[in-house]
Symmetry: D2
């Protein structure tokens, strides 16, 4: 399953073309809508006031409710594009945004309104594609879950990566603010509100698990290794700045005897399992049958009301910029389904379609 | 510039084919040999006792000392392959290694001796390819540096990512144990020796900088974005388990007002620069003209002398394994040129070859 | 420039996503509409009675009339989809069509109506993409032309491939039935009408030239060689069954002394040129500065009114099928802009976008 | 299965890296050697006097005689490289060769000796890779055959593409000059000897069949369609200038009623078959279960003893060139295993390796 994203925040529509969807896959539009709703703005008091419902119109690749196997195009109309909001800051490079990099890359021809093709809005078609991938994976007994690992330095409870509780993950995942520990979730929400009150924003992290992947998928070789595959997908999500597999960064201060996942002969019918899962289900770029686990860091929303230093890209002069209003002070909760989508799409690439 | 690695630890030879090397590039074999020496085992008391000199024989793609533009194959003979070392543990899955994953992936036909195609030895041709890429980048004024960011929890001094001192990085990079702060380097070495004495190993982290990259390279789109490109390359290095751009994981507990890199009009002839470089030189998947900076976490060497639990892959029975001798208790110092090589190769992909 | 096609003949819309369009390219919508009109059905008494105007709605990648450099999606609504036409023959594999192959490939889930994703209608977005590519190539002084080389065994006049008359090709290309020799064109039209009267169809061939390509583009290596690149694109056009470069099949009965294109020092400022152009502007997979010339064979339209033997795919029983009415008895004239589009897209891949 | 070729005619060695070889595949080195011998020069009085035995040394990817699943590198030393032969004509662009195109592409840094990377000698590693692919396909009941379709205008007997005699093809393929009709083969040989006596060369064509491919492999989409896949591979063979599927170019003068392959319910257990096989086993880019058949045109060897016009690339002055001695007056017989190899590799790409 491969995808091609298109669209800009303030153009007529955004969308995605998915290739390699297995023919016969039932496109459960209720499930898809529920996934879209998890990412959509306006779901809570914490998020952007832009209120688009993100209804996906499937233009191709589905026949009588099921995937036909041909390229599947999902289209989302932009219904709340207020382009007059952006003209005033046309030439001011917003700190933390891609305005300046894009200006050079696209030689001044980029659609600058609302971030254009760089807008977080482009994660909506990604969630659609992820929902299709999840439906395909579900048929193979594979599930993808994610929770908020931290916001503003407040960490969620930690998961046992070797034997996570799928039922609990499923329940947690249903809510708009998926945390394992509700008390810590309250603290996170409080931190978000405080940041917003200060005209500021906060960052965080998301942990994602893929359960049910068989052992033996992937390769140590460049472009087939599962870490590379997942990395390619998650770093395509705006605002992701770090990626850790399993124990991740903590490996740096561990000893081998702690870090190694020893094998135990626990499965009656299957192969050995590991007692711990520091490696996040991957050895040598190949799945080892344990849950695949990774964590991404999401930087704070760069759009903040506080005034910042910048430069006018036309004149080269110093300037000040404050970005008004409609932005999420923390995109981490809404990014949860996006990270899941990237994981689902990455993992789908491990399966050939033809034979 | 693209590459294809081949070879196994205990086969006759390992090597790499490089495509897209710019015709006319002078292949400075002294520089290449010095890069190979940085990675080679046996350079210090701290490393593996396997002592292969890793001489690269260039079989193609070079004519009269310069790249011809055709595929360039570099071959390294395996001269110290003692296969009898490995037969005893044929069926025991070494914890933290790919043995079990590979066994399933390759259906029992994998070359298990010394890790086979999964061996860290495969990083030798990668360093060769990286050296070629560095020579090509140098012609464009681009340099790649790395230092040991931490070992066993001991952190090196931190770098100013917005205006690093290239001269100092160049000096530091020449040594076999590249750290900014020698006192901390001593402490790291001490920790390595302690781990070795305990039959154990330690992990660490490497920070890499690419200086001189022009702004405007890359794309937000999947597979062209610079984060994805670098990620794909570094996760192909065995033992890399985390990747952070710029400030990386620390973004998770920052506010937007701290995290954003404000713009200042400092370059007389060029565009704006940023006062800080938390984003590691990348916005929206595109270079912004600041140093590209990333950090990778290297897990502790999984081969340790301490006895560990494992499973016999043939019988499914529990067993114990202790891995004797020749392994580095810490591969971080030798991984420094490997990470640089991956960065050089990734960045080379940003430049088209034809026009 | 790369593309992703989507859509089915009887779905809501068909379209294409184009990546790598150079930012700043003015999207001349009049030119694009004129290209679309060349392919559209209903242009003459000779073609299908399906009458869709094929208006392209650009959904992304264009800002203020110019390409922004982001993925460009062009959408064409299906306004004349009469699905009731096709239900009767649901299970009958039409000879010469992909029905049976698709039935196995997509396991019975394919959209069978009007050929679905296999429909010749999918060439409409291809012509749109080709028009964009032509606009980009024109800025580099590169032009693409094609004419009908033969229909029903009647051959057009032959072109001097070493020094074709660009002005004449430009004029010829403007008409709905592009031939060099109008008398032979009349004979071709007559043959088409006769075939139609007989309930049958005819095949033909199209010769395409790319003028203005600089020498030195391409590579002998797999996937970069220009013959492979063009082949990949033209064989994606339904009904193309043969591809010849330059003198093509006639090489088989030539001697080397006839076949070789000798070099002559004719260009004052440039390099040598060849006296003949049997090689179609390509040696070793690389452009040599001469016109790139190739010819494709288009098989007769498989949809014919004459009754043919077939099999019911559900029951496995023998059956008879006659395909009524709206089909072109010869698609060669309408395929001319499609072949040009494939050539323009293939050649566009030779140019890097970034530097 | 994907491949990367490397090497030059007069360098130390040429070779290939094969990725995706199925683990466990027994590497029958006798079969491989017999395939290499079919292509090797010096096999008959008709071919080049260069006499290299083309022994392949397998450097990686094979363990205990079987493919390990890791990248497989096959290396062939160049033992008969007489570079002094070529220095005299360093700056003369040989007509019909890539010298001039390569000179521009590689900016004068190409290895010009004996054609360098463009040499027909690079087809040796391709035949090796093809032999590996054939071994893999044989395990699935798929066989690849080719015969000389014509030389110097003399055509071999024609094959029934709908039900070819596999046994006879197998027998024919064993000989050094594979034709169906020996009398016509004699006439071809006579034509070759006449051309050689005249200091000239002749071209020809090769027809290739793939038997046993299941129906339903491929896709109409760009890059997955079987015609595109085969085209990409065969146009990577030097001297191939045309490619026809099934009836090929003859489609241009046929009517639909003749061209269409009607379906008949002949297989007891399988699906329908076609009564004829004009489409060469492919509809809409997908296999239909019939033999996949294609024909390639091989241009006459450009190296001829007759004097030809050329240009000195350094001075730009007109010159004359006659190419002495060791070249085949007709490479068609030796190209037969090369075309088979390309077909085997192309078809291997249709099968996923993992699941």
């Amino acid at each position: 399953m491969r995808y091609t994203l298109f669209g800009e925040s303030h153009g007529p529509a955004i969308g995605i073309v998915l290739q390699g969807v297995p023919p016969g896959l039932y496109l459960d539009m209720d499930f898809i809508a529920s996934e879209m709703a998890r990412r959509a703005p306006g779901a809570s008091a914490l998020s952007s006031s832009r209120s688009e419902r993100d209804v996906v119109r499937v233009l191709s690749g589905v026949f009588e409710g099921k995937a036909s196997g041909s390229p599947l195009c999902g289209l989302i109309e932009n219904t709340d594009a207020r382009s007059h909001d952006y003209a005033a800051t046309r030439w001011l490079a917003r700190p933390g945004h891609a305005d300046y990099a894009a200006h050079l890359r696209y030689k001044g021809f980029e659609d600058y309104r609302g971030g254009g093709h760089f807008s977080g809005r482009l994660t909506a078609p990604l969630v659609f594609a992820g929902a299709v991938a999840k439906l395909a994976l579900r048929g193979r007994g594979i599930e993808v879950f994610a929770h908020i690992a931290s916001i503003a330095g407040i960490e969620d409870a930690s998961l046992d990566l070797a034997s996570p509780d799928a039922g609990r993950l499923r329940d947690v995942g249903r809510g708009p603010f998926p945390v394992l520990d509700e008390a810590r979730g309250d603290a996170m929400r409080q931190a978000i509100l405080e940041a917003r009150a200060a005209g500021d924003s906060v960052g965080g992290a998301i942990q994602c698990l893929v359960l049910g992947l068989p052992a033996g998928l992937g390769s140590p070789d460049f472009d087939e290794n599962v870490e590379s595959l997942i990395a390619r997908h998650v770093f395509s999500i705006p605002a992701v700045k770090a990626l850790e597999f399993g124990t991740g960064k903590a490996f740096a201060s561990m000893r081998g005897s702690q870090a190694n996942d020893s094998f135990v002969p626990s499965r009656p019918e299957g192969g050995p399992v590991t007692a711990t899962n520091n490696n996040g289900g991957l050895n040598g770029g190949i799945t080892n049958g344990m849950p695949v686990a990774f964590t991404v860091t999401i930087k704070p929303t760069p759009s903040i009301a506080l005034e910042q230093d910048t430069v006018d890209m036309r004149s080269g002069q110093a300037a000040r910029i404050a970005i008004s209003g409609r932005h999420d002070p923390c995109i981490v909760p809404r990014a949860v389904p996006v990270v899941e989508a990237a994981a689902a799409l990455a993992v789908s690439e491990l399966f050939g379609v033809w034979l």
